[in-house]
């Protein structure tokens, strides 16, 4: 068996499908995207090679920077709000015991098994100023009940709430699995030494969860940058471009404005930012690990 695996033909036949998939499904589209980014292609008919004009336009496009800011804001929301809550919830679930543990694990994970379209419409109705749940609740507490959360000024926060809520279950489940893998004898030993829950969490759970946190944070940043479906269905970037996110803006330019060339320049910037973010995050975690 060992000899078979050292045969170059065998290695090639095993590796080739993966390489071909990568080349044709990832590398070639990226190269094509770079090519079209240098054209004024509208998606129909002929096109001209216009060099870096699209990238120059991109630099001056305030909506692109706004969408990038919103994506980074979402990433910050994931890291600073969603994940701390998820890890604390996972730790609490771990201590709850059998029935309650299973029940709450399901409840918190429930939003993740619901279709994005349903989630978007659910929240659209919750936020609706004319008949939404939110305003009805406000009225019950004596408020005027005319809050338009998806309106100008508040829309981005309303969208962030939905996205953070929706992705919470995944983060929690991964942390929960990580916590379950921690040797329980460590907690027993800590308990004998007089450590309470808080100290156990800070001194045992968190340090041992470091690899899980690293993976989760990286995934969260990439998810934030890639965000599209929920935003598209909830606000489609509106009002105006207030809740515009990078992927949605790319789609809008390429397929609504029929600026296919420009859309590709956004996609090139988009891929570059995703790769750059991953490298930076890996560096940060690597440095911390070495320290």
């Amino acid at each position: 068996m060992h000899k078979a695996y050292s045969n170059k033909l065998v290695i090639l036949s095993l590796v080739l499908p993966g390489i071909l998939t990568f080349v044709f499904a990832v590398l070639a589209p990226i190269c094509l995207s770079v090519y079209y980014a240098l054209t004024d292609f509208s998606g129909l008919g002929d096109y001209n090679f216009i060099g870096g004009t699209n990238f120059i336009e991109l630099i001056h496009d305030t909506n692109f920077w706004l969408s990038l800011r919103n994506s980074l804001l979402l990433a910050a929301g994931f890291i600073l709000i969603q994940h701390p809550l998820a890890i604390i919830t996972a730790a609490i679930l771990d201590r709850l015991g059998k029935h309650a543990e299973g029940f709450f694990r399901c409840v918190y994970f429930l939003p993740n098994v619901i279709s994005v379209a349903i989630i978007a419409y659910l929240w659209k109705f919750i936020y609706n100023p004319s008949f939404g749940l939110l305003n009805n609740v406000i009225e019950i507490f004596g408020g005027k009940g005319e809050v338009n959360m998806l309106g100008t000024g508040t829309a981005i926060w309303a969208v962030l709430v939905v996205l953070i809520w929706h992705g919470f279950g995944w983060g929690m489940l991964i942390y929960y699995t990580g916590i379950k893998n921690i040797d329980p004898t460590l907690y027993e030993a800590a308990s004998i030494d007089g450590a309470d829950n808080k100290i156990s969490f800070l001194r045992i759970t968190l340090p041992l969860m470091k690899p899980v946190i690293q993976v989760n944070v990286t995934l969260a940043v990439i998810t934030a940058l890639k965000q599209m479906e929920t935003v598209y269905l909830l606000t489609n970037g509106g009002p105006g471009n207030e809740t515009q996110f990078m992927a949605n803006y790319l789609y809008k330019q390429a397929f609504s404005s029929f600026k296919y060339g420009y859309g590709n320049s956004i996609s090139v910037a988009f891929v570059s930012i995703c790769i750059l973010s991953t490298i930076i995050l890996n560096r940060i975690f690597k440095e911390k690990a070495e320290a």
Binding site: K3, L44, N128, F255, S256, K259
Partner: protein, 449 residues
């Protein structure tokens, strides 16, 4: 030994998979509709008409009501009359439709018959790309198309599509609610705003507006422009686009009026995020007194899902005149928007042409659409008056019959697709006060700079 066995197994697996992948190429050549040459030969020898599959790509996903129902009924009838013809229909909603249309256009083969919009923002680029097949004008001499209705689908005197509807923009209102509260139909725009104040005072939404989709807002502003400027608005917008100059006072006045109207709560709170269905529901659930939309929604009067009390009391009026404006009450905002074209790369061009001509025989689309209370076609539909029309149908028919001028396509549909998206975004921003009227007009100019 083991190594050799493994190498042989893997090589065999690879060979089998490659052969499997290429097996398609070794088969008997197939025709467009998937039948083999052998099958076709047998059928020919039996003197049976060749089976034909016409592929249709439509923007009418609901096949059981409205225009989708009329379309499907015609397809079914055509297949009954031509037993060798199979019509395969693929449907998507407008925005998704346009995206996939483009994906089809980028490929080498398009469906044979497609939905199109006879507005420069859509059809100009498509015609320029050579995607549509010219139609024969003489085929339609007896079809009764309304004067000018084919213009949007033509370029340099050649027709590339046929219009499906005559779209008229109007305020749908709940007559019973109006009577119960002692409200009257406004004759001027000022009266409309005063009425809105009274309706708001009763804790009812004056006008349900689908501002989330944005295009109803640019139709609304076109309606205002029409009432301010009268018949010349279409040329004025086209000239403004060509000259990259929107400094004409009509545009500024219309923009100011839209902003003021929204500020005076003519529309519901959060109209900028309200979608089509929700806006219609606000009206059909009596949460709003009026609803601004096109004549394509006249089927509300026959929609059994809407409570009878509301359904039977829906009436319409067009945009009231604006004080100081040049337009009269009978100058309306209307155009011939959606329609059909045959594609030049379709496999069954001539069969698709036959189907298209069949659909648009006066007793086809026009009769069916009118009898089902779905819409007004772009052909002479008055000949199919039965006396059983809904009140809205009668009102719309009267509006069209008595119209003295029509606006033509709305603002956002008169430029490129980029102009359309900029118009959509900026008109929404204007209506919620995020930008000023000046910024709105500068934004439109900047698209072409």
């Amino acid at each position: 030994m083991m190594k050799k066995v493994l190498v042989v197994i893997l090589t065999l697996a690879l060979t089998i998979s490659l052969v499997a992948c290429s097996s398609k190429g070794t088969k008997e050549p197939t025709s467009e509709n998937g039948t083999t040459k052998e099958q076709t030969d047998v059928e020919k020898s039996e003197d049976v008409a060749d089976p034909v599959t016409i592929k249709v790509f439509s923007n009418l996903p609901d096949r059981t009501s409205g225009q989708g129902f009329v379309e499907q009924t015609l397809f079914d009838a055509y297949m009954d009359e031509n037993t060798n013809v199979t019509i395969e229909v693929e449907t998507l909603d407008d925005e998704a439709y346009k995206t996939k249309f483009k994906a089809y256009a980028a490929g080498s083969k398009m469906p044979d018959l497609v939905s199109v919009w006879g507005q420069p923002g859509f059809i100009d680029e498509v015609i320029d790309a050579g995607i549509l097949e010219p139609l024969h004008e003489e085929d339609y001499k007896e079809y009764g198309f309304i004067n000018g209705s084919l213009d949007g689908f033509s370029k340099d005197g050649v027709i590339f599509g046929l219009p499906r509807n005559t779209d008229v923009l109007a305020f749908y209102y709940n007559q019973k609610m109006f009577q119960d509260h002692g409200w009257t139909v406004p004759q001027t725009y000022d009266e409309l705003l005063t009425l809105a104040d009274k309706i708001n005072a009763e804790d009812i939404i004056p006008v349900a507006m689908d501002g989330g989709d944005k295009w109803p807002l640019y139709i609304f502003i076109t309606d205002l422009m029409m009432k301010i400027d009268g018949s010349g608005i279409l040329d004025k917008v086209k000239t403004a686009i060509t000259n990259k100059d929107f400094s004409d006072p009509t545009f500024m006045q219309a923009a100011d009026l839209l902003y003021e109207s929204a500020q005076r709560d003519l529309f519901e709170i959060g109209f900028e995020t309200t979608d089509y269905g929700t806006a219609q529901n606000l009206f059909t659930n009596a949460q709003s007194a009026m609803y601004y939309m096109g004549s394509w929604d006249m089927s509300m009067a026959t929609n059994q899902d809407i409570p009878a009390e509301i359904r039977d009391n829906i009436r319409v009026f067009t945009m009231p005149v604006i004080q100081g404006g040049k337009a009269t009450a009978t100058d309306i905002t209307a155009w011939n928007g959606g329609g059909y074209s045959i594609t030049s790369s379709g496999a069954q061009k001539e069969e698709a042409r036959k189907l298209l001509n069949y659909m648009f025989k006066p007793e086809g689309w026009t009769k069916l659409a009118w009898e089902n209370g779905v819409c007004m076609s772009a052909q002479d539909f008055a000949q199919f008056e039965t006396g059983n029309e809904t009140e809205i149908q009668k009102q719309f028919m009267q509006i069209v019959k008595t119209s003295t001028n029509i606006s033509g396509s709305p603002l956002g549909d008169l430029g490129t697709t980029e102009f359309k998206t900029v118009t959509e975004d900026s008109v929404q921003d204007l209506s919620i006060g995020k930008i000023t009227s000046e910024e709105f007009l500068t934004g439109l100019e900047n698209v072409y700079k």
